[in-house]
């Protein structure tokens, strides 16, 4: 689909950790036209390893956008009706300022880059909307870490979000979520090529990043999905090899997922973004009471989970819904059935599109 890729310089950004980023750059794609009333803007928030290429061909992999099922003519997010914006998150590596970007001294930030939060990502997006002259979003939508940003948006800028769609997500990272991320970070940092984060100009810590991706990828799939896709089937062989080659299809698949990921993602970005997710707990600044994060909000919420998602299970979505109920915020919630686990939000799901479509086009009560 035709997009308008852009990068803008947005000045200083004060961060939750206390540091001030001297110059924030944000790379983003847009689809459709902003209406004269400026009331049709939809912000699409992307997940950990995604980017702004939600519905346009990826410049590195050449693959179509990651949410072409959701965004496109005749789809729930329709460029003929909506002005759709997707920006690369702060800390990432596809054009928005992150550890790979150049510091004022002309060298990459590396580990000198300040640790960021989900709220910092959202503040960076708010600066982008200011730049685009958009006061109020008709909707913010995202899955996984994208859903965290959506919830953070509604909490931080309730007047700027008319509708919030949070899919396959949570309002906090659980011990299990943090644990899996820590495995990934340790894999990266154990790679000698990581070199304390100062590897730019030399070989990247591809082996470590690849293992991190493999571990994470398991959490994106359900046991049923893995079993259906691979079972105990062997990879291009008749019998087990009595060695450590990728005998099983599932091993070969994970290795491929891991190595292809390293072509398009920066290892330090992986450290920073997973850290931001681990630090995420929307209730923390509200005395531990999640509902308080949404009190007085005029935003309408739609929360959607998938029954086989064990990374951000339905119970976490329900926690968000109960918090919204407790402050009488208008909320819709549904748990959809899918065999695919967490990844379901990216895969074909007619129920998901029907609900999002209805939620976005329905007249507010």
């Amino acid at each position: 689909m035709t997009s308008s890729p852009q990068t803008v310089e947005l000045g200083e950004l004060a961060l939750d950790g206390g540091a001030v980023l001297p110059s924030l750059q944000v790379a983003f794609e847009t689809y459709g036209e902003l209406s004269p009333q400026r009331d049709n803007a939809v912000l699409v928030c992307h997940a950990l390893t995604m980017d702004q290429y939600a519905a346009s061909r990826h410049p590195v992999t050449g693959k179509p956008g990651w949410w072409t099922r959701m965004i496109g003519p005749g789809r729930s997010l329709d460029p003929q009706r909506h002005f759709i914006i997707c920006a690369n998150v702060l800390g990432s590596c596809m054009g928005t300022t992150g550890p790979k970007s150049l510091h004022e001294d002309g060298r990459p930030w590396g580990l000198r880059f300040p640790v960021i939060t989900i709220a910092d990502m959202v503040r960076a997006q708010a600066k982008l909307l200011d730049h685009l002259g958009i006061d109020r979003l008709c909707a913010a939508i995202g899955g996984s870490m994208g859903g965290m940003q959506v919830l953070q948006w509604a909490s931080l800028y309730p007047d700027r979000v008319e509708r919030a769609v949070a899919i396959a997500t949570a309002a906090r990272h659980s011990a299990q979520n943090i644990a899996f991320h820590e495995v990934g970070r340790q894999a990266i940092m154990a790679d000698p090529a990581w070199a304390g984060g100062d590897y730019y100009g030399g070989p990247a810590p591809a082996a470590g990043l690849s293992v991190a991706r493999m571990a994470a990828h398991i959490t994106y799939m359900s046991e049923q999905g893995l079993t259906e896709k691979f079972g105990r089937r062997l990879q291009d062989r008749e019998a087990i090899s009595f060695g450590f080659d990728a005998d099983f299809q599932v091993e070969s698949y994970l290795r491929h997922q891991g190595s292809s990921f390293t072509d398009r993602f920066d290892a330090n970005s992986y450290l920073y973004i997973t850290r931001a997710m681990d630090y995420f707990d929307l209730a923390e600044r509200h005395g531990g009471v999640l509902g308080e994060a949404f009190r007085g909000s005029g935003t309408r919420f739609c929360v959607i989970s998938f029954n086989t998602d064990w990374l951000y299970p339905t119970s976490e979505s329900r926690r968000v819904v109960h918090a919204l109920n407790s402050v009488r915020a208008p909320v819709s919630f549904v748990e959809l059935s899918s065999p695919y686990g967490h990844d379901a939000f990216l895969l074909e799901s007619p129920d998901l599109y029907r609900i999002v479509d209805g939620f976005l086009s329905g007249t507010p009560s």
């Binding site: 739609c302 109920n325 407790s326 208008p330 819709s332 609900i355 329905g362 009560s365």
Partner: protein, 195 residues
């Protein structure tokens, strides 16, 4: 689209601009009517995912959940009216549900099929088996209606719980029927409860 008769009674009696909570709201037919016709702030709770999807697609705020377990996540006095239509007889503890209704709303509309209707009585009396009728077509072992009740049962329960019946409507074949013989003549009842 015309509403089910008991829902039509409720729709006619919810004051304009009030806030309602429709528990077991189905596909949101009543909520949609209340929103469009009476400018009501409506929220719904529904067990079935397909129904929730249909309701959300109408632009309604509906949460997938279970009346037996999820009502306590809503704060007391959240709504002017709590609505429970054709659902009381399907819950595990109708008495606790009624208490929750009156905790959430200052008033409650409750509608249910009357198991003391003369046709059901005759069927049980003459047939000697659990009645299967046009209005209650399920058999005893596959019915969602696990707590059948009569109009007089309901009146007694409301009394025991210390609530007040402010108004009642009795329906037979979609038409209003008399109050005095309601427990015999009515297929459906709608009650408005207050404190």
């Amino acid at each position: 689209m015309s509403l089910r008769p008991d829902l039509a009674v409720i729709a006619d009696n919810v004051p304009e601009g009030s806030s309602v909570f429709d528990i077991g709201c189905g596909d949101g037919a009543l909520m949609a009517e209340l929103v469009s016709r009476r400018g009501v702030d409506a929220r719904g709770l529904e067990l079935d995912a397909d129904n929730v999807a249909a309701a959300v697609a109408k632009g309604l705020s509906v949460v997938q959940g279970n009346a037996d377990t999820d009502l306590d996540t809503y704060p007391a006095g959240s709504f002017d009216y709590a609505i429970l239509s054709q659902t009381l007889q399907t819950t595990w503890r109708p008495d606790l549900i009624l208490k929750d209704l009156m905790r959430l709303g200052s008033h409650a509309f409750v509608s249910f099929p009357n198991f003391a209707h003369w046709r059901i009585r005759t069927s049980l009396l003459l047939g000697g088996r659990m009645p299967v009728t046009r209005l209650l077509p399920a058999r005893w072992y596959d019915t969602p209606n696990i707590h059948h009740l009569t109009i007089d049962d309901f009146r007694a329960l409301v009394d025991d719980l210390g609530f007040r019946i402010e108004k009642s409507w009795f329906l037979s074949g979609g038409h209003r029927t008399g109050g005095r013989l309601a427990n015999l003549m009515a297929e459906h009842a709608v009650f408005l409860l207050g404190r």
